[in-house]
């Protein structure tokens, strides 16, 4: 680490940590973010349903309800600011059984208690008119127009890019091993050395318990609740335009179908309570259960169009609920824990709320001049220009300026070499194959890297100036090629 003294140290570069870093980067403070992974983007923050919720079903009168409900309207501007895609698709909640139908008035009541008033009752006929694939058994539904979709990778990456431009330092593959508080400041021991700071913000998701524990806080535990998904290829051409929600159960929102911002569909997630935090794998039972449950809402779902699967771990806190806490005996430490199932949505509100906590601690928050902030004209960031989104005239012009736009390296998503190179060169840039995939979608299409697997590792090696067999999928020991170079006799 080149700077081992900072005002604020943020542990965790997921949606929560990065939203806080983005918010703090507007003020005259030095901020450092560390994450044990090889990229920004987090753990849970990269494997979720990618929905910006309205909070209609949040537990009423809680911190979660208030933050989620107020965060939703922030996204129109935030996404314009960051130049990332965001779509207000709306959701249709579907009651299929008699019991589910009986729950509808309660769901409406709860939404109103949460201050979400714009949701509407739909008779069965109307549900089917809006979404013809929904089972004919449907009894009624609700329309929730502000439920929306986003690309959660891009959200975090875009916030990180601006934060870094504004002076925030980011260290990857930097795991926090211990924190020592001497009564005035914190010394955080990481795998890349020690950092001294006045403030430590714990945004470590599943590991928030472990991090707080370093400072003697042991009044809560975090365990993983796994959620598995299937991704359905856009070639399935499903005429599904809204997020399709089931009636939520006691422990989760249930299995849904949602269009993605890139034109595919997600189905899932499961809700499996586990004890081992490393179990981010998918299982046969989980994957089968998704198909059979989702078929109850949409019988036409066909697993032949599935192109891949993934799983994410919700950080379940015990005792539950959002906790944004400070501690009298450890002034300067802020814990952001229990952000379980709605953290993508709540992140911009959590960030502002966290700044308030800093103010309450007596930390002066002075706005900075001459940095990328909201006061500059929108957007404050320009996303990587995507070849596939242009018309042919624009494409021709682009290639003239940058011939690398004329080399297609991912055929399914039509991604060019230029986009890949830019994703590596931006700051924080991609250092591995997954990083490229998340930034420009190369390898996320129906062939899942079958074609670009030939090109992208070579580009990465060239741009990072490393040998091909040091290229990783996701940092650490995840080498793409494990063999030594061939011996030429």
């Amino acid at each position: 680490m080149n700077n081992n003294n900072t005002d604020v140290l943020i542990i965790g570069a997921g949606a929560i940590g990065m939203a806080v870093a983005y918010e703090l980067s507007r003020y005259e403070l030095s901020v450092t973010v560390v994450d044990r992974l090889n990229d920004v983007g987090g753990d849970a923050s990269r494997s979720n349903s990618a929905i910006i919720h309205t909070g209609f079903d949040a537990p009423p009168s809680t911190l979660e309800s208030s933050l989620v409900v107020h965060a939703n309207p922030m996204f129109d501007r935030l996404c314009r600011e960051l130049d990332i895609p965001f779509r207000r698709t709306g959701a249709v909640l579907v009651a299929v059984t008699e019991e589910e139908e009986e729950e509808i008035p309660e769901i409406l009541d709860k939404a109103h208690e949460n201050g979400v008033f714009d949701l509407y009752y739909l008779p069965a006929r109307k549900v089917r008119e809006m979404e013809p694939l929904i089972t004919p058994k449907v009894r009624c539904g609700l329309y929730i127009p502000r439920e929306s979709i986003i690309d959660p990778f891009l959200l975090v990456i875009a916030m990180a890019e601006i934060a870094v431009k504004n002076g925030v330092e980011f260290y990857r593959e930097c795991e926090v091993k211990n924190i020592v508080y001497n009564g005035r400041s914190f010394t955080t021991e990481t795998t890349k050395g020690k950092v001294k700071s006045k403030i430590v913000i714990n945004a470590a998701g599943l590991n928030t318990d472990k991090i707080s524990n370093f400072l003697g806080i042991d009044d809560f535990k975090v365990t993983p609740r796994r959620g598995q998904f299937h991704v359905i290829d856009r070639s399935a051409e499903l005429p599904i335009r809204h997020i399709i929600l089931p009636v939520p159960t006691k422990i989760s929102k249930g299995k849904l179908i949602t269009p993605t911002i890139h034109g595919n569909w997600l189905i899932g997630p499961t809700a499996e309570d586990l004890s081992d935090k490393s179990l981010s794998n998918t299982t046969r039972n989980g994957l089968d259960e998704i198909i059979s449950d989702v078929k109850k809402l949409i019988p036409a779902i066909d697993k032949n169009y599935v192109i891949t699967q993934y799983a994410g771990l919700r950080p379940v806190r015990e005792p539950g609920g959002y906790h944004i806490r400070t501690f009298k005996n450890i002034p300067g430490f802020i814990e952001l824990s229990g952000i379980r199932s709605t953290g993508i949505t709540s992140s911009p509100a959590v960030a502002v709320f966290t700044c308030r906590k800093l103010k309450e601690m007596g930390i002066p928050l002075k706005h900075r001049e001459a940095v990328c902030t909201v006061s500059t004209p929108l957007p404050i960031r320009k996303g990587i220009v995507m070849f596939r989104e242009l018309n042919n005239l624009e494409r021709a012009e682009l290639i003239e300026r940058d011939p690398l736009y004329g080399r297609i390296v991912c055929r399914c998503e039509t991604v060019t070499e230029s986009e890949v190179v830019q994703s590596i060169k931006r700051n924080p840039g991609a250092h591995d194959l997954d990083g490229i995939k998340r930034r420009v979608r190369a390898g996320l299409g129906r062939c899942q890297g079958g074609f670009c697997g030939m090109h992208i590792p070579k580009i990465l090696a060239r741009e990072l100036n490393i040998p091909l067999n040091r290229v990783t999928k996701k940092g650490g020991g995840s080498f793409f090629l494990n063999g030594e170079t061939k011996r030429f006799e």
Binding site: R284, N392, M454, L481
Partner: protein, 421 residues
């Protein structure tokens, strides 16, 4: 945007595309353009440095690159134009192509077109194997390219899922490179590829072959550490009471090839759900008149020699089409349907009366010995019949039938039935 007009465009410069260009040129056509996205002509052959190519076409045993080189020099000798590093990204239903290269975008407007884009490999997503998502899972073809072209090995301890030809060839290649090939896992009860590949690549090197098994889990968070192998019971379902773990650092997938027909779909060309390629008539013509298809884009072939054959004919027919000597895709075409014991057949359509020889490419649906292959009309009239000693799904059956009288809109069937004794 640059605009080019030409008589014949060929999308793809692999063996099918090159043979098409040569076939058309030898019919006297001169205004031909081959469009290839790679840095070289040759397609998949460039990475197949093993031998076994050309036994039928040249009566010689060549390596892939040698086989390709013969065609490349024929292309050059005829001064056929080709564009490299140029990828077709759009095909409209007026046969107009848009292609991209570092030199810019080109619009190519041909009067006839041959599709020769080859095929791609099925990947992990399509196999739906649950587990972690570590590095070290790749298709056999990707691994082949890294070894043979880049000079890197994918790993040290290898398990291969699927005993298709590429999987078996890679098993041998990796074994010879000093890797430990811990097994080839095949869900079926027979090796999926050609018998000669089974003998020369698996048997000869004592590589364990798990028939009737599949992989049911992938372990390892960063890099593959092991896979779970499970036998398939009599009902075709994995029997989890008999599963076992085998350690490895690499899982190669050789689980099938898919004809590359995104462009065909864009142009609304009708596809055959079984072959994955366009429906073709006996001229290799697709449902878009003047657009032909050859090689693996039409149907995954087992031998490159047949690919070259199909390419040559498609090219010749394209030239005949331009002279008006081949009818457009007919409204009243007759259908050729795979019946009992037949998985797929090509061509699937027959236009007007067929003088001379008609060539059919078929695949059987199961392994069988001593069978009778029949070609019959819908009134059960048998038009052609042949006894075959052995049929295996991986090996394509090639049939030539003379002078068939075709009834417009008629239905014709291929069947492979019981034993003859």
């Amino acid at each position: 945007m640059r605009k080019i007009e030409c008589e014949l465009a060929i999308a793809g410069g692999g063996p099918a595309g090159m043979a098409s260009a040569i076939g058309a040129a030898d019919m006297g056509l001169s205004d031909i353009i081959v469009i290839e996205r790679d840095d070289h002509l040759g397609g998949i052959l460039n990475q197949c440095i093993h031998n076994g190519f050309g036994l039928h076409f040249f009566n010689e045993d060549l390596t892939g690159p040698e086989y390709a080189e013969r065609f490349i020099s024929e292309i050059k000798r005829r001064f056929i134009k080709y564009l490299l590093r140029t990828m077709v990204i759009e095909l409209k239903d007026d046969k107009c192509l848009i292609a991209v290269s570092p030199n810019g975008l080109v619009e190519i407007k041909p009067r006839a077109l041959v599709l020769a884009m080859g095929c791609r490999e099925r990947t992990r997503g399509a196999t739906r194997i649950p587990g972690y998502r570590p590095a070290g899972v790749m298709t056999a073809g990707t691994a082949q390219r890294y070894i043979n072209i880049e000079g890197y090995l994918p790993g040290k301890e290898i398990i291969i899922l699927g005993s298709g030809d590429i999987g078996m060839i890679m098993a041998r290649r990796l074994h010879l490179e000093g890797c430990v090939v811990k097994g080839v896992v095949e869900i079926g009860n027979f090796a999926g590829g050609l018998t000669r590949n089974y003998v020369q690549c698996i048997e000869d090197y004592d590589i364990p072959l798990y028939l009737g098994h599949t992989i049911t889990n992938i372990l390892g968070e960063e890099r593959v550490e092991a896979v779970e192998i499970t036998p398939i019971n009599a009902d075709g379902i994995p029997d989890s009471s008999k599963k076992f773990i085998e350690t490895c650092d690499t899982l190669l997938l050789s689980v099938g090839l898919i004809p590359e027909n995104e462009l065909s779909r864009q142009a609304n060309i009708l596809l055959d759900p079984i072959t994955g390629g366009p429906l073709l008539d006996q001229y290799f013509q697709t449902s878009l008149s003047g657009v032909f298809a050859a090689g693996n884009v039409a149907q995954v072939f087992d031998l490159v020699d047949h690919v070259s054959d199909s390419g040559k004919k498609a090219g010749e027919n394209a030239a005949l089409y331009l002279r008006g000597e081949i009818p457009p895709w007919g409204k009243e075409t007759a259908s050729v349907i795979p019946g009992e014991g037949v998985r797929c057949v090509m061509p699937q359509k027959l236009t007007e009366n067929c003088q001379g020889k008609l060539n059919f490419y078929l695949r059987a649906s199961t392994h069988r010995r001593m069978v009778l292959l029949d070609f019959s009309a819908s009134d059960n009239r048998i038009i052609y019949s042949e006894k075959i000693n052995i049929v295996r799904p991986p090996e394509m059956i090639n049939i030539a039938i003379e002078n068939v009288d075709i009834t417009p809109s008629g239905k014709y069937y291929f069947t492979i039935k019981e034993e003859y004794l």
